[in-house]
Amino acid sequence: MRGDFSYRRTQLTAVCTLLFLSPALRLVPGRSAELAGRGAWLSVLWALPLLLLYALFLRRLGEGRQDGEGLGELILRCLGRRAGTFLLTVLALWFLIYGGFMLRAGAERMISTVYPDASPPVFIVVMAALGLIAALGSERSILRCAKLMAPVVLAVVLPVLIFSSADAESGNLLPLTAYEVLFSMRAAPVTLDVAVLPMVLSLFLGGGRAQAEDSGFLRTALWLLEMLLLLAWIELCILGTFGAELTARLSHPFFTLVRNLVLFESIERPEALVVSLWVFSDFILISVCLSVSQRLLRCCMGKRCGYAGEKPSDLNNGRWIIYLCALFAALVALICAPDQLTLRFWSEKLIPTANLLVAFVLLPLIFIVGKTENAV
């Protein structure tokens, strides 16, 4: 029988899909075009082998968890109380900063596409409050929500891509010289960043060994392949419509693409609907970030990490930290990027670099230490 801590594979896939889509549409089309020109869509080919290897590594790392454990508990066992607590605190803070940044980026998207006269705090506070409500409950509720929301978001993305494909001009995508194909490698880290994060975050949820066994490598590989194909399609549509130079200059190329869409020569400007749907993706991302962070911090405090049916107002067992986490994320969102230039720096430099460091340096180091301690 399935325990309260274990998740269904489809739920995990759905949550990973939504965690993938939000940063993918924020970062990939513009940044990839800036780095690799019209061959940017080929970057997924360069990223794929590395991502598959990384998925294999994460599976191996995740196998060290006990039933119901997240990666936090494993790290504590591998590194010991002192170093483990320090590292988990750093990771929790990082996930909160990341969540805060995503709150700010989500607010910016709403402002620049639908509500030009609004100010970010309104969106930040509302989304942080929603994330807090989700984090106060069970992780499984977040995953169930994701399972409901992912098909809705995909059901909107796919028609957008189908209709936009007709507007894409081959002159914006071709010809590609051998050098340009090689040059597209420059955008691979961007793809790596957006694809690695969902896999890492999902490992910190309390799925434990059951999760690792249920979401076998082949299933992860299939999910990766689907997401990268989707990403390549998105990039092909955007680059084909705007060209690499213009794509690199646009703040939200995907939503500009949606704004230009005319369906059946009668329906125009559907961007408000599409942008609003992205709230689902942001909601799942902030909820997962808060949930994972509070879990890590409660691990550090030696409290029970999982949810045991507590009421939202119950502050026992270190649950007060959940409120603090939401407050911290909201504060980060409010102060992190006072202007567009800073937001761009966070979006294109700081966040991807830190994500890649966590994924490709920190976690492998933990694995190595765990191996030497025979904990993994």
Binding site: T241, F242, G243, E245, N260
Partner: protein
Amino acid sequence: MDLPVYIVREGEAAALMKESGGEDRGISEILRGIGDYLHGRGDGHGFTVREVESSLLKRDSALVCALKLSPSSEEDGEEAKTAEIDGYAVLKGGKLLTYLDREQAIGVGFLTGNTGVCSVTVRDPRGGSAEVRISSGSCQILPVWAEDGNLTGLQIRAQVLADVTELHGGGSMSSSVYVRQLTGLLEETVAEKINAVLRLSAELRADFAGLSEAVERATPEKYAKLTAPLEEILPTLETQVSVSAVLSHGNDLKGGTA
């Protein structure tokens, strides 16, 4: 981004918007009408914001459809005015360089692949003339490379399908000699229009017609090795324009014998 962008020639946009149209037909309807009219035309194209912005980013120059205020031919009253298409404005580095008139715009149509319906007047050496309607066309831009990898020239091969709508001065479409002569003159006329655009492009050092993309599409590997942007070497390029026309006559032929 997909809205057409216009520039007002010899005047201000505010004046054009205020003065054109009448009680039944405002500037919005006129602009919509212009947009519909330009669809499939060879002597004008309503470049969109996206196309203009993209062109400026790619090659630092772009074309924008130009409009002017002119007396309305409709029965809106003697003082009624309307917006009329008046060639293109050439932009470079975000600045307006010059204008191309509607006759030159036909050459732009061939070079940019926007060949469509347009009319040209062909004058024969005997003093007569013929109104020819170009119904379709195509253009191939082929780069000529030296052995050392330098671009030395451009070969432009255009094809035109046209029909005669009016004849003045005694020519007859039943005479095969006259038809051959008129076809040759049409080829010369179109070649001259293309050459005029190429000359202006070289003179302004502005690749507003997208020649660089055509060269890149034809020979991507060699283009990638070019040391200078195409607009910089345009004045040094030898251009050779050849036009092949097929002429027929329309059923609504006026002023001559069919």
